[in-house]
Amino acid sequence: MSSKVLLNSKEIEIILHRLACQLIENHNDFSNTVLIGLQPRGIYLAKRLKDLLTNHYHIKDLKMGLLDITFYRDDFRRRDLPLDASSTEIDFLIENKNVVLIDDVLFSGRSIRAGLSAINDFGRPNLVELLVLIDRRFSRHLPIQPNYIGRQVDAINQEKVKVCWAETHNEDVVYLEHNT
């Protein structure tokens, strides 16, 4: 397996700032907007953006939640491996709010579909937008597109995009791994 660095920490930092600014352009002071990070890997990006918006861009009272979609997946009983759920923590109301769904990599779109179903069980949002760090452009199985993109990648199927965050690895890096 060979891996190549797609984004280094500096590039990721610049992208995070750009995404934060794009969010502010559309959502102002976030008084009617909430961020929801998709478990298990979207949560790191969501937390980073929340910290950035709160500490650097001085957004007050920014609400962020974590959403686990295990029970909404369309591959329950169709896989060989059993599913492993993480936690859902949404302690605010979704009703009539603007929701920004956040995940690290957008691939087939099935996780996002599950996320949309799950969100609707918490209430009826005013609108839902999708923010992803990496968009694997031509890998979609469903008609789902992101509103905010960190970097677009035209990866082919045998390649895997791996996002590493400083919280769990040494530093922020995005790798493109190829199975040789």
């Binding site: 295990t70 029970f71 009983r77 759920a85 936690s87 859902t88 069980d121 918490f122």
Partner: protein, 309 residues
């Protein structure tokens, strides 16, 4: 290990510690689900579950039905009064009729010990034992332990007292198995005629003095006194039972510590437990009911996961 080690839930005796941990972790997730505005998840949309209750039960049946519906499964109910079902007579027939309607999971309560085992050998569905005679009632024991874990942080090392008619209680037997698997210490307290002779072979001590037993324990699980048993053979009278083994506020106040009170329900207020105790802060009886739905959702979900399309 993210799968159950068993194909059915017939009794706690067939489970290992990992199974119990997995059920509890999964129940944690479902507890969060049942506190949402929409208390459902779609996972079991294409699964059909049959509830076969050959013995009267409102609470357990309701709890299971709720759990099944919260998982979005299709549910069919079959109940039968005691008189029209004798031993294995209609069991196989009834179940085969139901199975020809493509049922994936059967939840069954039956007056015969081992009815679930028997069924699992003859029908092609996942079986969940909701109580088989005086044998086991595994989901009750699981929700009891889950409730203790919720209240005290863990079950391991805790001292659990079971009070009442141990002899005829499947709740007691399943609880003993479950608590010991999780490293708790168990004692029983009740009239000697209602304590089975094999109790010591299970590693459970008997304490006939209620006050001493309560002083010892961290948690008291109070069993229902079944009026049918209140005849001369087993015990003189309900009043005498209450005097010797009834839990009331005075006896709790006389202890030098706070203990947790549990009861599988339905409560005979004033007999095995007084209303003020049942409704007090020491009691986690209502939590047991809420947890029952989450734990049953977990068990059903984990068994359904094994059913391949």
């Amino acid at each position: 290990m993210k799968q159950l080690s068993v194909d059915h839930l017939l009794g706690i005796k067939y489970l290992n510690k990992n199974d119990i941990d997995l059920i509890f972790e999964t129940a944690d997730h479902f507890k969060e689900v049942i506190n949402r505005p929409i208390k459902k998840v779609p996972s079991l949309r294409d699964i059909t579950i049959a509830n076969l209750f050959f013995e009267n039960s409102t609470r357990t049946k309701l709890s299971f039905e709720l759990a099944e519906k919260r998982l979005s499964a299709d549910v069919i109910n079959f109940s039968s009064s005691q008189s029209s079902v004798k031993k294995g007579e209609t069991l196989i027939d009834t179940v085969n009729n139901i199975l020809s309607m493509k049922v994936d999971i059967v939840v069954m309560r039956h007056p015969n010990v081992g009815a679930g085992v028997f069924l699992s050998k003859h029908v092609d569905a996942k079986i969940i034992n909701a109580g088989d005679g005086t044998h086991e009632h595994p989901t009750q024991a699981l929700l009891d332990s889950y409730s203790i874990r919720e209240k005290l942080g863990t079950v391991k090392g805790k001292k659990i007292l079971i009070v009442g008619d141990i002899l005829h209680s499947r709740v007691a037997l399943s609880n003993i198995f479950a608590l010991q698997l999780q490293g708790a210490k168990v004692k029983v307290c009740g009239p000697t005629t209602l304590i089975p002779k094999y109790i010591s072979s299970l590693g459970v001590e008997v304490e006939t003095d209620l006050k001493k037993a309560l002083e010892w324990c961290d948690v008291a699980n109070v069993l229902r006194v079944q009026h049918e048993r209140m005849d001369v053979k087993y015990f003189p009278s309900t009043r005498e039972y209450t005097q010797l083994f009834g839990i009331n506020q005075q006896i709790l106040d006389s202890l030098n510590k706070d203990i947790v009170i549990m009861h599988p329900g339905p409560i005979n207020r004033g007999v095995e437990i007084t209303s003020d105790v049942a409704d007090s802060n020491s009691s986690i009886i209502l939590n047991q009911v809420e947890n029952g739905v989450a734990v049953r959702m977990a068990v059903i979900y984990l068994l359904a996961q094994q059913i391949k399309r």
